[in-house]
């Protein structure tokens, strides 16, 4: 059974400018031991999607449609209490900003044990400590026992992100959602964290949803990829397939926009214009106004995500290109 599948999820925000569907009919799926990469530019709804899965949306946000099935169980049907038991225990999450995602006033040991205590209240203090030190060790924090009592501000950014990962792993979740876990870090540290995630996945066999806007990270980590644009998935395939055979014009645009180390080019192929804000999303294909291939029909109705090659879907009338 699929570990997690999200079906036709719609999340909306009530704002002064009206209702905004930040995530608009998104479906994704992750298997055990697999990494799903979600890539897209800023504001396309990646974080809202992950928070919707966790049901951690802040006030004006609300899931209005769809299903979030964790091993077949629809999380949207759970009570608040049941959902709490899922969070941290079955699905864990790490965030982009290691600087602010840890509570500065509690020791990192406390913050890790807190997660364990929430799900296994029977553990004694000593057990909690041992397990926390063990998990800190696992994420390669040097002299973990000593670090246990330190506070976030005493750690470097990379260390903090490791602590975040340790916290997420404390209860051995089946699925880890990593929302841009390395964006705030330097390349050398990013490489460390990515390697760590890969190792841990190999050990635990957990599923990972890795959110990023860096195609390099996707190539490095993901087994399957969903490309998001303006609240929708526009292309979905295996990672290899995406780079070898990109089908959606937006994906092409992204690939063209990044300078490649291995290539001498005078000009990058940029995408014209900018991502429109959610309240200004056009009808029809949302990429149409920026798309060099757009035709009249693109602006009429949103194109469905359809298979254009085996196990490779794109939401474009023109596809396969």
């Amino acid at each position: 059974m699929t570990l997690l599948s999200v079906e036709n999820l719609v999340t909306s925000f009530k704002t002064s400018a009206g209702e905004v569907r930040a995530v608009d009919g998104v479906s994704i799926a992750v298997e055990r031991g697999q990494t799903l990469g979600i890539v897209g530019e800023s504001g396309c709804g990646k974080s809202v999607l992950s928070l919707s899965i966790m049901q951690l949306l802040a006030h004006p946000g609300r899931v209005v449609e769809g299903k979030v099935l964790l091993e077949g169980r629809n999380l949207l049907d759970l009570s608040a209490r049941q959902m709490r038991a899922v969070r941290g225990r079955e699905i864990a999450m790490i965030f982009q900003e290691p600087m602010t995602s840890l509570n500065p006033v509690h020791s990192i040991g406390y913050q890790i044990t807190e997660a364990m205590r929430a799900h296994e209240p029977s553990l004694s203090a000593a057990e909690l400590r041992n397990r926390a030190v063990a998990v800190l060790d696992r994420v390669r924090i040097p002299s973990a026992a000593r670090r246990f009592d330190e506070y976030p501000h005493q750690l470097s950014g990379g260390m903090r992100q490791r602590v975040m990962i340790a916290m997420a792993l404390a209860c051995k979740p089946k699925l880890l959602i990593a929302d841009e876990p390395t964006t705030a870090l330097d390349v050398t540290v990013q490489a460390q964290i990515l390697e760590l995630l890969r190792e841990l996945q190999a050990e635990n066999g957990m599923g990972i949803i890795l959110i990023t806007h860096d195609l390099g990270v996707i190539a490095e980590m993901a087994d399957r990829v969903s490309v998001m644009y303006a609240g929708r998935v526009v292309e979905r395939s295996s990672s290899a397939e995406l780079f070898d055979d990109p089908q959606h014009p937006y994906t092409l645009g992204l690939l063209g926009s990044i300078p490649r180390v291995d290539e001498e080019k005078d000009r990058l192929t940029a995408i014209e214009g900018a991502v429109p804000p959610p309240f200004a999303w056009p009808p029809g294909c949302r990429f149409a106004p920026r798309c060099p291939f757009s035709i009249e029909a693109c602006t009429q109705a949103p194109p469905a995500l359809r298979e254009v090659a085996p196990d490779h879907a794109a939401a474009c009338l023109e596809a396969p290109l």
């Binding site: 530019e41 800023s42 504001g43 982009q96 841009e180 705030a184 806007h213 900018a274 991502v275 804000p277």
Partner: protein, 289 residues
């Protein structure tokens, strides 16, 4: 840095003006109207007051509100309505004067401290020292030195406002100073004066505005408390705090003498506070204190 920053809209709808945002908040709109009314009432007190605020009617002492005396009369048979109007004038004058004196000086210090880092330590340490004296102590000290009176109160409140305004302005200005457009202005070779006047100050106005509105309420509260203690405006001057103080002797037989001016102070301060809160929400939600 992440790539989050560019989510800005290409053609955002024009940000609604602060005034519009204010008017959307019913409470704030009422407060604004109320503040305007109060100011008008204070300014036009001589024309609005149905009676002379100092005229004593010995035939109706401490009479409760009636058609003749809308808010009743005080212990000397004076019309409380008229006195309240004049009291608003005195109270607002006291509040505004000290706010302006203290605010201008404080803002100057704040800007200088933020702009010239070398002065920062010295100036702000000095402000800290000033801040170590609660306003009431300035009030007490000045009353001790110059004797009780409105002038003492105004000076005290001005001094007490300086460090607060300096901190607010410095806080805002330091943030702005850290922004790239200041650096850009320097890189282009602008003079300090030009940078301060054209780039720094205009971008610190919101917090100054918000603070001033909220502070006005505080200043009025403090000033009327000092008058209530007998350290401020001296009778027979119609000052709201002093009026409340006089009336408290008859609290049990004629509560309106104290209650009316107290409510007037309350209403004025409440209006400024509600307005200040709304302004803050409209201008800069991060300023919440």
């Amino acid at each position: 840095m992440s790539a989050t920053a560019s989510a800005g809209p290409v053609t955002a709808p024009r940000r609604p003006s602060a005034f519009r945002m204010l008017m959307k908040d019913t409470g704030a709109a009422i407060a604004l109207v109320f503040v305007v009314l109060i100011v008008l009432a204070a300014v036009f007190a001589p024309w609005l007051a149905p009676k002379d605020p100092y005229e004593t009617d010995l035939m109706s002492i401490m009479s409760p509100p009636s058609a003749d005396y809308w808010f009743g009369t005080d212990g000397q048979g004076r019309d409380i309505f008229a006195r309240t109007l004049y009291g608003l004038q005195v109270t607002l004058f006291m509040g505004l004067t000290s706010l302006i004196i203290g605010g201008v000086l404080g803002a100057l210090v704040g800007f200088l401290a933020a702009y010239y880092k070398r002065l920062d330590g010295l100036l702000m340490r000095f402000m800290d020292i000033l801040l170590s004296f609660p306003a009431i102590l300035f009030g007490l000290a000045l009353a001790a030195i110059f004797g009780p009176g409105l002038t003492s109160v105004i000076i005290a409140l001005s001094i007490a406002t300086i460090p607060l305004m300096a901190r607010i302005v410095r806080g805002a200005a330091v943030v702005v100073m850290g922004l790239d457009y200041i650096e850009a202005a320097r890189a282009v070779g602008m003079t300090d004066k030009r940078i301060m006047l054209r780039h720094l100050a205009p971008n610190c106005l919101s917090p100054i505005f918000v603070f001033a509105t909220l502070r006005l309420g505080q200043v009025i509260l403090l000033g009327s408390a000092l008058s209530f203690l007998g350290l401020g405006a001296q009778p027979p001057v119609a000052e709201l705090g002093a009026m409340a103080s006089q009336g408290r002797n008859f609290l049990f037989i004629a509560p309106h003498i104290s209650v009316v001016p107290s409510i007037a102070i309350f209403a004025v301060v409440l209006a400024f506070n509600v307005l200040g809160d709304a302004l803050r929400d409209a201008l800069d939600p991060r300023l919440r204190i």
